[in-house]
Symmetry: C2
């Protein structure tokens, strides 16, 4: 698909998503909850999940506009989880603006997050018959349980030295991949996809989601231009056991490097001056290469699954969208 | 209805509710989230809402056991809101046990609360066809939005001297009454109630809910045996503007009493030594009598609405249940 054509479709999706978000949150009372939500949702974001949902509805032969509300619902659900995650992580910034708990306080962040979750569920079923609503809500509920459990494991792993790569993959499947998996399913439901297509979409979502999270881990250390408000090596600083940590544990042999890795484990994070050293160790031991290879494998699997769909303009758009996701630099 | 018979039915409902709760939370992984939830839910509680739901299903001619799962769902939803409220209120105790954020920490309380909410939604639709599931979930989503907005107003009112009795009644309608209103509706849905009965149930729920909250306000000051872990006058200590405060504002004339009321407003709460004085002022100015009268009005309205149902044993149980709620001493 031509770049101009792709961009036009993409920005139209983004525009309708933002308009629907704004309309959803324009209620003013109680302002102490709706104002923080508008503040967060006006800051933008990639809108990856809702664009995927609209593109999927079109891919399976539906009207993308009928997928708009569930798409927005998923974006709001995702942002609910960001609000609560940011409290737990004591993160000062999100999308280069203050986080809600920083600009207001923890109580407002907890409560406006809860409200956003409720609004997202209501948004999901605004336009649908009972049968489709039921499928969409069930998918959202399952995704929410997985996200919470995944986040629970993530917290657990911080204080557990025995975590394995398998544990990590299970955790990111729950924390990140399941919502993207369910997003694609929901796009399929909205577009009235066949059982066969729904099954493919679920698998495509899983592979995008896993690749997406490992990319996140990799970009934390190797992004040419780190995300606004993020420093290079934030995960290393905070002692987060990412995909790259598990690969490093397997790859690294020399005693000095092992020592630094143990220091990272014992102190639950590294000093800022140790971070460039660790990045060099990762690079020299092929850790980045392995992570990149893994991401490419998820990408290839995604394309293979997608090849089961008929060649249409909608598929060509979807392919380009996935390519852009897998090639993102922030 | 004979007391023995009533107690037998009541305890059977309670028992099946507790068993279903235990079964729902017996999943062990990740234990850092499920353990706090079991800890909270094993501490008991009145189980008022789920018993009401089962009794309503029977009142309208349905099988109460089919209402068990939505009943448990509402109890879990209620407890989700308690977990998050307790963080915001920095409450050390709940049901005479440590609150989750005290025994664990804020992150675990935020996250296990989110998880409990998700579990409650999943529980609500386990047994139903799409059409009933849709009604039940829509009612739960509406209730959740109202609870969050009500809690938002409540926080708002703490820092606002211009709040009126009307504002207060709007706030408790959202924060407390709506969930009981929706509980009765859900019991009606589960029992396949007619539109006519559903409309009555909604109104009955509203009146029970409003009466319940004003009772809560009153019991804080006049309970013969304050609830475990609560001191007499906790609301006065914390500066909460309750129903009694608004009545007092209208009733009190003498300058010394007005001075204490202003001190309460300015300092956002009273010292412990001022609390007995304030309680005396309330008593001498008829504040308790007016609150009691108001509660009796909600009770009378509830009975009047209930009189539209046929006289059956189920109705007799329901009447007794409501009587016990309106006569509770803690």
């Amino acid at each position: 698909m031509e770049k101009n054509k792709y961009d036009e479709i993409f920005f139209n999706y983004q525009k309708s998503i933002q308009e629907e978000i704004d309309k959803t949150l324009n209620k003013s009372q109680p302002n102490n909850l709706y104002e923080p939500l508008r503040f967060l949702m006006e800051a933008g974001g990639k809108r990856l999940r809702p664009v995927l949902i609209m593109a999927v509805a079109k891919l399976v032969g539906g009207d993308p506009s009928i997928a708009l509300k569930p798409a927005v619902a998923i974006e709001l659900l995702h942002n609910f989880s960001l609000i609560h995650d940011d409290i737990m992580d004591k993160a000062p910034l999100r999308r280069n603006k203050q986080t809600i708990h920083t600009k207001w306080n923890d109580s407002i962040a907890i409560l406006s997050g809860d409200l956003l979750l409720a609004i997202s569920f209501r948004k999901a079923i605004e336009d649908f018959n009972e049968s489709t609503s039921h499928l969409i809500l069930a998918a959202m509920i399952d995704a929410l349980i997985e996200i919470c459990e995944g986040q629970g494991y993530d917290i657990n792993f911080e204080n557990n030295r025995d975590v394995t790569l398998d544990d990590y993959l299970m955790m990111i499947d729950k924390k990140t991949a399941k919502l993207i998996e369910k997003s694609l399913l929901i796009g399929g439901y909205a577009g009235n996809a066949s059982e066969y297509d729904l099954n493919l979409l679920e698998q495509i979502g899983h592979n995008i989601g896993m690749g997406f999270q490992i990319q996140d881990d990799l970009l934390d250390l190797s992004a040419p231009n780190p995300k606004f408000g993020k420093i290079q090596g934030q995960d290393l600083k905070e002692g987060k056991k990412t995909y790259l940590f598990f690969i490093a544990k397997m790859q690294i042999n020399d005693p000095k490097s092992i020592e630094l890795l143990n220091k990272f484990l014992e102190n639950k994070g590294l000093n800022e001056q140790d971070i460039p050293t660790m990045i060099e160790i990762f690079r020299n031991n092929g850790v980045f290469d392995i992570a990149n290879k893994m991401i490419q494998e998820y990408y290839a699997k995604t394309l293979e699954l997608l090849s089961n769909f008929k060649d249409t303009e909608e598929k060509s758009f979807f392919e380009q969208l996935i390519k852009n996701i897998f090639e993102r630099e922030y």
